[in-house]
Symmetry: C2
Subunit: 195 residues, 2 copies
Amino acid sequence: MKSIASTSDKILDIAQSLIVAGGYNGFSYADISAAIGIRKASIHHHFPTKAELVAVLVERYFKQAQAGLQSLREQAASPADQLHFYVNYWHTCIRDASQPFCVCAMLAGEMQMLPDEVASRVRAHFQGLAAWLTLVLQAGVEQGQFRLDKRPEEQAQMLMASVHGAMLSARALGDPGLFIAVVAPEISRLRVPAR
Amino acid sequence: MKSIASTSDKILDIAQSLIVAGGYNGFSYADISAAIGIRKASIHHHFPTKAELVAVLVERYFKQAQAGLQSLREQAASPADQLHFYVNYWHTCIRDASQPFCVCAMLAGEMQMLPDEVASRVRAHFQGLAAWLTLVLQAGVEQGQFRLDKRPEEQAQMLMASVHGAMLSARALGDPGLFIAVVAPEISRLRVPAR
DNA sequence: GATTGCCTGCCTACTAGTAGGTAGATAGCA
DNA sequence: TGCTATCTACCTACTAGTAGGCAGGCAATC
């Protein structure tokens, strides 16, 4: 079960943290090389081109995210809890600076100049996240936990925008607490008043 | 009144559109050079370093934004109208792709690796925008136009996040209409119900 | 059981091209 | 004259990517 990370996994890990810090054009093979103590050419052995590296990276991120969200829906007690766990995941990441930004949110900003194979995967992540949020909101309405002003799909888009915007504000203003301060009220207003 | 744009203005204009497209690391002096038909070295005459160019650019953007928001507060009839005009400005920019993203939102993502003189100005823009939104919301409450769940400063942060997140979603999903679909309901829910 | 050949992972050494930036000449203008 | 804006020509450092080699593992063959 416990296995040491393969070189290609290490490359992806480092690349991911570099992208989170500075985007697609914000890192080079030389940066990765220095970070994991391997020659530049060896990275090309695993990932022939930068576009391919990032495409694989986003694909991996997409799958991890989908799996995580899926298991959240299976395990967390209620739709409200599912939402709570989701935002809390990011709250923790941002607070301890382990991954203070979503890779896909980062790349979404650079969409216009991303290689196609990367751009399409970033788009897929946004669609997947919106779909998950829609399902959770729908379930919450059915169970009488949420009351929405708008259709679940629209409310999901609003929530997703709120999360990504809050990440941006937290980063711009250098205030990790801002993330939860923005997102928490956005969620709690969906809940039907306790009686 | 009508004056042809100076070379340094043209440089800033092009640089701004390039940053909007690809961020700080997404453009080079060569790109600007090609776009306005001037040699690379001539750009260095106007802006010795890239960091300085972008710092001046963000400063200019900050001042333009502040001036625009200020005059909006003086001219627009009501706080609700002021908010309406603000989001409509971006709605138009995004729809006709003239400036489909806020420079500072773009740069905020790259905050960690931005030169200090740029980062501080990006932060200033976020603070300025939040302050403006706070003032508008406060005025709206005083005039009985808005009813807020939270303190105006918090509500302003939520609104700002929503706007930036909506820009990101619109870009990621390639759907300009998504911006207003997300932001409009976020604003209309602040208004007290008509009676 | 040794030999053969292939595969993986990494290496050194290199390429062409681009990055930001500089030095110094020139042309026009006050 | 001196200033401003531009130019040509160049620099160094770095970019993504390539060529070719080499050590070790694995597996089929003799």
